[in-house]
Amino acid sequence: MGLRIEVTKVAKAYNGNPVLRDCSYNFAPGLTYALQGPNGSGKSTLLRFLALLEAPDTGSVDYLENSTVLPINLELRRRFTLVLPRPGIFNTTVFNNVAYGLKIRGVKSGEIEARVDTILETVGLSHKRSQRALDLSSGETKRLGLARAMVLAPEILFLDEPTANIDPLNTDIIEEIILKMKAGGQTTILLITHDPAQAERLGDRLLLMKEGKLVPG
C-alpha cells in the first residue's frame, strides 16, 4: 500500500505573520508532486513539517499505512528523507557522505560499498568517490545530496529546490535521476521548484502554495 501523508489544517506564523493557514492535503503513495509558489509562501516550511523536522503551531501531519496512523518514531523517520536546499554535506569523502545513512542503520560494510557505488554511478560521481565532498562544485553537491538520500531507498523523498542555483547540465542530470526514480514507481516524491516547465516535466500532480494553502497548480 505504501505511506500516505495526511496534512490537516496546518498553520504556522513567524513573528505574528501567518505563513500557513488551515493548510490541508492528502499525499497519495507512488506519485510525484511538484510544489510551486513565491518565495516566503511557506513551501519549505510545509516540507519541514512533512519531514517532521519541525511541528506546526496548530493542525497535524499524520503518516498512514493501511488506514492506520503511524506513531512518530525513528522507525517512521527512517522511511522518508528530505534533501535540503543546502544539503549539509559532511566534511569527509564523497563515499562517506553517501554511506552515512547506511552506517547509522548498521548496514554491513560489504553491502554499503555495493549500494554506495551503485548510487554514485547513477548520479555520475563515481570518479569523485574518494574526493573531499566539500570541494565539489554546486551542481555536484546537489547530486551528492540526492545520492545520500537515494541510497536509503526511501519510500518518500522530499526535495527542496533540487536544481536551484545550478547550471543547465547539472539540472538535466538531476531531472533525469528524478524521472528514473519516478518510473520505478516505488517512491513518493514531493519537490519544490520555481520552474513551471520543470514542474510540468516531473510532476504527476502540480500544487501551488497560495495564501498559506495548497491548491492545484
Binding site: L53, L74, L84, P87, G88, F90, Y100, I104, D135, R148
Partner: protein, 234 residues
C-alpha cells in the same frame, strides 16, 4: 661556536633525557586528562540546553587566563601536609604536576572545542536528522564536523602545558631526577648563570613543541578545503 659544541659534549645525556622524558610525560598525561574531561564538557555545553550553561561557558573562558602561579599556590595549599588533601602525599610528585597541567589545559581545550562545535553549520545536524540519525548519532556527527577545530584546541592546550613553569615549580618542587622538567630546569640553570644549558633545553623544548604541532597540523590539513587558501593573484 666551537665552545658551544664543546659545552654540548659535556652535558650528561642520561640526565638530559630524563628531564625531557618527564616533561613529555607530565605535559602529555596532563593534556590527555584535560582532553578526556574537556571534550564531553564542550559537547554538553554546545549541544544541550540547561540552566547555567552560559555561566559555565563564561567561567571556562575566564579560566583560560588563569595565572599558573595562582593555580600553583592553590594546589600547594590543598596538597601540603596541613591542607585538606595533604593526606594523599602528592605534593612534590609528578602526579601533582600532572594535576596542575590538567587544570591549566582543561579550560583552553574545553572552550576552544566548545567554540568549534557551536560553529558547525546547523544544516549539518539537520542533514543528519533527515538521514535518520538518532539524537546520539546527530551529536557525534556534529562533533566529528568540529574535529579540526577541536584539534586546534588540543594544540593550544599542549602549548599551555608544555610551556608552563609557575604551577609545576610550586607543586613539583624541581627535585633533580624526580620532578625536574625542562621549564623548571631552564629557570634553575638561568639562576645559576648556566645560560648555555638553559638555551639548549629551551631549543629542545621548542623542537618538541614543533614536532607535536607538526603532527597535529598534518591531521588538521586533511580537512582543509583546497579553496581555503588565497590564490597567488588574489
Amino acid at each position: 661556536m666551537t665552545e658551544f659544541f664543546l659545552f654540548l659534549s659535556q652535558i650528561n645525556p642520561g640526565e638530559l633525557w630524563g628531564i625531557v622524558w618527564l616533561s613529555l610525560w607530565v605535559s602529555g598525561a596532563g593534556l590527555l586528562l584535560a582532553t578526556a574531561l574537556a571534550l564531553p564538557l564542550a559537547a554538553l555545553l554546545a549541544l544541550k540546553r540547561f540552566p547555567g550553561r552560559d555561566a559555565v561557558v563564561n567561567i571556562l573562558h575566564t579560566f583560560m587566563g588563569l595565572p599558573p602561579v595562582v593555580l600553583g599556590l592553590l594546589l600547594y595549599l590543598l596538597l601540603s601536609r596541613a591542607g585538606p588533601l595533604g593526606v594523599l602525599g602528592l605534593l612534590y610528585t609528578p602526579t601533582a604536576m600532572i594535576l596542575a597541567q590538567t587544570i591549566l589545559a582543561l579550560p583552553i581545550v574545553a572552550a576552544l572545542a566548545h567554540s568549534a562545535i557551536v560553529n558547525v553549520d546547523p544544516v549539518v545536524r539537520q542533514a543528519a536528522v533527515t538521514l535518520g540519525a538518532t539524537a546520539r548519532q546527530q551529536a557525534f556527527t556534529v562533533i566529528r564536523e568540529a574535529r579540526y577545530g577541536i584539534v586546534s584546541g588540543i594544540m593550544a592546550g599542549f602549548g599551555r602545558a608544555n610551556a608552563e613553569l609557575g604551577a609545576v615549580l610550586i607543586v613539583g618542587g624541581n627535585i633533580a631526577g624526580y620532578t625536574r622538567v625542562m621549564t623548571t630546569s631552564i629557570a634553575l640553570e638561568t639562576d645559576k648563570g648556566n645560560f648555555e644549558l638553559g638555551i639548549v633545553l629551551g631549543l629542545i623544548l621548542l623542537a618538541l613543541s614543533l614536532l607535536v604541532n607538526l603532527a597535529l597540523r598534518r591531521l588538521q590539513k586533511r580537512g582543509q578545503s583546497a579553496g581555503a587558501e588565497l590564490s597567488s593573484w588574489a
